[in-house]
């Protein structure tokens, strides 16, 4: 059987950054397996700008951001296979993949980096009642058609979900000649960036209706109209608040789900909150030598942080392959508490952590003038004020090894949001 030091599943932003990092940390035998016909992943269809401010200090479009990493991958001569679908990974890291040229093949990997990204939630997952006509698209499907194929999937559009993809598609469809009638959002706040609300909706006079959802889809063959209704505190539609919009298209931007079928298949433990693997300080899953990064681990809002996280995963996988022996040490649980939905990582072993470890998390509601607090057991060691926090914006806290070393006996690190 073919062998490989590090096999990376996915050639999107996470996979590319992980591969580059692994190579730069001394591993030559790296292989990227990508299912699409080009590297770059979903960035290829995200032709809007706003990527890379953090990484490159300039504003790039999705394809431009991807091209920087693709160029580096080529420069480092990192091998990759395109249009190659990974069918299965075993717990002992045998990767079974398939493509047109080689058929089915297997690779015994020393380490695996999971970087498969995520998929969109579909209409079915929301139980939206009504007919099932043509014209109901996930925002990403529409994005692909418009941005990569040059086709308009509809002329009169209602969008459900005000996450960034929904907002971006409102602008894209408008610019290409469609009429976007309204964007409805189930929550009382938008999950998208303020900038996107202003520049994708306000600029074009597209109304945003908060606390609204779709209660009916009309049209047997093609969408003919959508009924929206206001929802109560329990997200249940309020009778009498229905509004009908005639349209031929419903775009859904209702959430992303990490794509972990392969991970589950190999026995990786999955968090019910993030739908991504449970990882330690090295972004390593419960299976030794299997790492995860990017949207397969937890859904990010900025690609810059995907790249940063993937870089760490690549470095850690390289260290694993080079047998830089992991030290034994106490495993500290990282516990999300009041207001914090989850943390990545879930455990920390201080002896194995880098000098500075980024813990990423999301809050469960909108907070203004609240504090991010971190407790080492019962002692509050971090208390940082934030003007605003929202579920749509990932938060991070840097933990210092030096500081943690002064608490040799702690059992848990707790993250919570406090009003004061």
């Amino acid at each position: 059987m073919r062998t490989c030091d590090i096999v990376i599943i996915g050639g999107g932003p996470a996979g590319l950054a992980a591969a580059i990092s692994a190579k730069e940390n001394g591993i030559d035998d790296v292989l990227i397996l990508e299912r699409d016909k080009e590297l770059g992943g979903i960035l290829n269809q995200c032709i809007h700008n706003g990527f890379g401010l953090h990484t490159f200090k300039e504003e790039l479009t999705g394809p431009e951001y991807a091209s920087r990493f693709i160029a580096k991958t080529e420069e480092l001569k990192i091998p990759y296979k395109l249009q190659t679908m990974v069918l299965d990974i075993t717990a002992d890291k045998i990767v079974t993949a398939m493509n047109k040229e080689e058929g089915l093949f297997q690779i015994q990997a020393k380490a695996v980096i999971l970087a498969m990204g995520c998929r969109e939630r579909s209409r079915g997952a929301l139980n939206i009642p009504g007919y099932r006509p043509a014209g109901v698209y996930s925002a990403g499907t529409a994005q692909r058609l418009v941005n990569m194929e040059g086709f308009l999937p509809g002329r009169e559009v209602v969008i459900l979900g005000s996450g960034d993809i929904g907002l971006i598609m409102a602008r894209r469809m408008t610019l290409e000649g469609a009429k976007v009638k309204v964007v409805a959002e189930l929550m009382p706040y938008s999950g998208g960036l303020k900038r996107n609300i202003v520049q994708c909706l306000d600029d074009f006079g597209i109304p945003l209706k908060l606390s609204y959802t779709v209660v009916d889809i009309k049209g047997r063959e093609r969408v003919e109209g959508i009924t929206l209704a206001q929802v109560d505190g329990a997200n249940k539609p309020i009778p009498g608040t229905e509004e009908f919009y005639s349209c031929d298209t419903l775009l859904l931007s209702v959430g992303l789900i990490p794509e972990n079928e392969l991970s589950r298949g190999m026995g990786v433990e999955i968090s019910p909150i993030t739908n991504g693997p449970v990882v330690n300080e090295s972004l390593e899953t419960n299976i030794e030598g299997v790492f995860a990064c990017g949207n397969v681990l937890h859904v990010h809002d900025l690609v810059d942080y995907v790249s940063e996280e993937a870089k760490a995963a690549g470095k850690n996988a390289a260290a694993y392959v080079k047998h830089i022996s992991k030290k034994e040490g106490t495993i500290i649980q990282v516990v999300p508490n009041d207001g914090v939905r989850y943390t990545v990582p879930s455990t920390i072993c201080v002896v194995n952590m880098s000098e500075e470890l980024i813990v990423r998390f999301r809050v469960g509601a909108v907070y203004r003038n609240a504090f991010i607090s971190v407790y080492y057991d019962n002692e509050r060691v971090i208390h940082r004020k934030r003007l605003v926090m929202a579920p749509g914006e990932m938060e991070e806290v840097k933990l210092k090894k030096e500081q943690l070393e002064q608490y040799p006996d702690i059992q848990k690190i707790m993250f919570q949001i406090e009003e004061k």
Partner: protein
């Protein structure tokens, strides 16, 4: 000279089962279907189960067709290369006072000729099905009940009939039937066809077709049933099909694995007027979720991947109407085919074909091809076989639907085979591409490309399900002044 000897109206599972049985004989037969494909009405949206046959009243056609159809299904599935599994069914009851009802069902089943029926006590039920409700008191166990893919069954019947010479006309809606001295003129939106005999297998429209020629009117009520389909990750939650015994408090919904490994719950039952009213409702979906929870515990309702509604063709007497219409010689009804219609279809096909044989003195063909090869499923091949296939046909190495793992090779086959897929839904029903957890979010544009390429048409002409269900309305900027 007539255009045809027999015209069958409707390419659902009944019409195509009849067509396939008739294709064993030398007879000029044509199936007219108003939709663009087979399996577009009741046949495509139902519980996908093959009932054992204890439910229908003893002595009814329903009971007979059900029990006979169930017995025939295994050999038929083998001949047609479609998946079928006898997974067994359980009818649960929750209280001691419901036992007489359960026993009545048992007795009726025995009288109907259903083999191997058993009454199980709570412990026995929990042993074979640990996830049923802890409140279960007893159950009627029918090991011969099964699950099938209704699309594959319907499509396979049609393909085999087609291969044996039956003609199919799609997008052909019957608008009137004129009785001649002998035979009929069938008037459609695609012109007129003359025929000696008409077989009415028009599902929820069977009353309209029947009433075009007969003075003895029938009435079919579309009875809507809503369903929820769960991800394959939930497919092992139960292994038998779980029913609840209808009581004075109402009728439950079933919870069943599907032949493809998903979990299906439903249906509701609501009589409506609109024969195209296949929309789901918030109330209906809520009802399904609530009722499913009564029979099976810890259902992972967060794993729902889609919901749908189907219409049963409910006839007032709740009985299959099979046979020549009293006042119209040569006009044969196959009407009121609601549950257990899918289970009964092999027997219905044979029953009607036998009837026609007797009437017309049909002769068996010597060259009837009884088997049909389904679309190759590469996942069932060994690595060596699969590699050989990919080497010969590289399209089998190109994965298109990630969720259901469907390759380009399978989709090309689905489009190009006889009565092939013309639309996204056609491909979906034949290959399962787009039927998985992302519901076509990823693969739809790619499948559209393949359909367009193989059918040599522009991608903008590709539809979801024929008619006005176009997917792309134009190109970027074209309507910017």
């Amino acid at each position: 000279m007539r255009d045809y000897e027999i015209i069958i109206i409707g390419a659902g599972v009944s019409g195509t089962a009849i067509a396939r049985e008739l294709s064993k004989y030398s007879v000029k037969c044509c199936v007219l279907e108003k939709e663009e494909d087979v399996c577009c009405g009741t046949s495509k949206a139902n519980s996908a189960i093959i009932h054992a046959g204890y439910d229908a009243s003893n002595g009814s056609m329903m009971a007979r067709m059900n029990v006979e159809g169930n017995a025939m299904m295994e050999a038929l599935a083998k001949d047609l290369d479609i998946p079928f599994k006898r997974n067994g069914s359980l009818v649960l009851c929750f209280r001691e006072e419901d036992m007489p009802g359960l026993l009545r069902l048992y007795d009726n089943g025995v009288a109907n000729g259903v083999p191997k029926l058993q009454i199980l006590n709570k412990d026995e039920v929990k042993k074979i099905e640990p996830n049923v409700s802890d409140d279960v008191y007893a159950a009627l166990y029918a090991p011969t009940a099964g699950i099938v893919c209704p699309f594959h069954l319907n499509i396979a019947l049609a393909e085999n009939a087609c291969e044996n010479g039956v003609e199919f006309k799609f997008n052909t809606k019957v608008e009137g039937i004129q009785k001649l001295e002998k035979g009929f003129i069938v008037k459609t939106n695609q012109g007129e066809f003359t025929t000696d005999y008409v077989i009415n297998a028009a599902g929820v429209y069977a009353d309209e077709i029947h009433n075009m020629v007969s003075e003895k009117k029938i009435h079919i009520t579309p009875r809507r049933g809503e369903y929820l389909l769960l991800d394959k990750t939930a497919g092992n939650h139960v292994s038998n099909t779980i029913f609840t015994l209808p009581t004075k408090y109402g009728k439950g919904v079933l919870v069943t694995p599907t032949i493809h490994g998903n979990l299906l719950v439903g249906p509701t039952a609501l009589d409506i007027v609109d024969k195209e009213g296949t929309c789901t409702s918030a109330a209906g979906l809520d009802e399904v979720m609530t009722k499913a929870g009564i029979s099976v515990k810890n259902l992972p309702m967060g794993q729902v991947i889609t919901s749908f509604a189907g219409l049963r063709a409910h006839e007032e007497n709740h009985e299959f109407i099979l046979g020549e219409v009293e006042d119209v010689t040569g006009f044969i009804d196959c009407a009121g085919i609601e549950s257990p219609g899918l289970s009964g279809c092999p027997a219905i096909g044979k029953y009607i074909a036998d009837l026609m044989k007797g009437k017309m003195g049909l002769e068996a063909k010597k060259d009837f091809i009884s088997t049909r090869k389904g679309i190759l499923n590469p996942a069932k091949l060994s690595i060596e076989e699969r590699n050989k296939l990919i080497q010969e046909q590289p399209a089998y190495g190109n994965m298109i639907c990630r969720c259901e793992m469907i390759t380009e090779g399978e989709i090309i086959d689905a489009v190009n085979r006889p009565l092939g897929a013309k639309s996204l839904d056609g491909v979906k029903r034949r290959t399962r591409a787009g039927m998985g957890r992302c519901q076509g979010g990823f693969c739809s544009p790619r499948v559209m490309e393949i359909i367009a390429r193989e059918q040599d048409m522009n991608i903008t002409e590709v539809t979801k399900s024929g008619g006005e269900s176009g997917l792309i309305v134009g190109v970027n900027k074209e309507n910017l002044a």
